[in-house]
Amino acid sequence: MATAPRPWLYNTFFKKNYMMLGVVFAGAFGFEMWYNSVMDKIWETNNRGRLWKDIRHKYVTANDDGDDDE
């Protein structure tokens, strides 16, 4: 690995197996959170006006606003 173009990459993430595992698991966790939020955003954009959250304000009375978050 002496000739690796980015030795800091190897030294930081892949030198120790537990480090690499940690990177993989944390990366999977982070990626899934990001991916799900992006996909949900696409879904909501595609269904704008048809979702419950778009019409909910018409039926929720003011005093119980904090109560029902559904």
Partner: protein, 326 residues
């Protein structure tokens, strides 16, 4: 043998067309393969006619046996196939129109619920889809449900809770039959999955009652004519008429509007998981597409040097003889 005689017969016809000289040539050439004497033209004609008759006859027999479609039911018993409607909520990335769900639930409650149960849907399922928590609680409390047995073993009544299921109009199927002239109104919880044609069928059924049965139609006692219902005699009369329901969002309550809303609501009742299913499918397809493209690239990368190499054979030199040809 049959094929050979057929071949010969076409040659015979060609020979007859082209004249006698040609014909003798053909006869000579055909006899050259075997030791048999040249066939007589009459025999050849008979063979041609017979083989043609056998071919046509076998085709006719085949179609007689397998050609016509065998229907177990008459078209009336089958029912008219429903029209295909472009339901938006059935598109790949579309959810239900939740405003329509709310209207459809109103139609169910004010019209359908007098005969049809929806007994697999609890009040809690309506929360966050077409009712707020308070609306659903208020709705549940309008009905009474049995409690657990108390200390004396008595079962009492309590107002409904969110975890209760929508009440059925009849105590049991027998009561439902007795009240409906012997016909059982089906439970509507899964009805769009339970009928061929699904949404299209139910919409066509609800809006497909003619003013009066067509001439010659047999309608049994206590039945109504509906061409979409298998057998055409349906115990349910037409229920949806323009303006029957007054929508709270002031949508004009035409027959087709109410039918469309209630069908969408029933589709939701049958498939409340549809949104999650479509969203998960979209996620899976996207990730799989990326991974597939990646794997194609890796394959091409790994194979690049194998695909692009050239194998050359360098033959050993041989003595003084002439140079070998390669």
């Amino acid at each position: 043998m049959l094929a050979r005689s057929c071949l010969r017969s076409t040659r015979t016809f060609a020979g007859a067309k082209n004249g006698a000289i040609n014909f003798t040539k053909r006869a000579a050439s055909s006899s050259s393969s075997g030791s048999t004497a040249p066939a007589q033209p009459v025999m050849l004609n008979i063979a041609a006619v017979a083989s043609t008759a056998v071919a046509i006859g076998s085709i006719a027999w085949y179609y007689h046996l397998y050609g016509p479609t065998a229907n177990a039911m008459t078209p009336a018993e089958e029912g008219l196939h429903p029209t295909k409607y472009p339901w938006v909520h059935q598109q790949a990335l579309k959810t239900f129109d939740h405003q329509a769900l709310r209207r459809g639930f109103q139609v169910y409650r004010e019209v359908c619920a007098s005969c049809h149960s929806l007994s697999r849907v609890p009040y809690r399922a309506l929360v966050g889809v077409l009712l707020t928590v308070d609306e659903a609680k208020a709705l549940a409390e309008e009905n009474e449900y049995d409690t657990e047995p108390n200390d004396e073993g008595e079962i009492e009544k309590r107002p409904g809770k969110l975890s209760d299921y929508l009440p059925a109009p009849y105590k049991n199927d027998e009561a439902a039959r007795a009240a409906n002239n012997g016909a059982l109104p089906p439970d509507l919880s899964l009805i769009t999955k339970a009928r061929h044609g699904g949404c299209d069928y139910i919409f066509s059924l609800l809006t497909g009652y003619p003013e009066e049965p067509p001439a010659g139609a047999q309608v049994g006692a206590g039945l109504n004519f509906n061409p979409y219902f298998p057998g055409t005699g349906i115990a349910m009369a037409r229920v949806l008429y323009d303006g029957l329901v007054e929508y709270e969002d002031e949508t004009p309550a035409s027959t087709s509007q109410m039918a469309k809303d209630v069908v969408e609501f029933l589709n939701w009742a049958a498939e409340p998981e549809m949104d999650d299913r479509k969203r998960m499918g979209f996620k899976v397809l996207t990730v799989t597409t990326v991974l597939f493209a990646l794997s194609v690239w890796v394959k091409r990368y790994k194979w690049a040097h194998i695909k692009s190499r050239k194998i050359v054979y360098d033959p050993p030199k041989v003595g003084d003889g002439p140079a070998p040809r390669y």
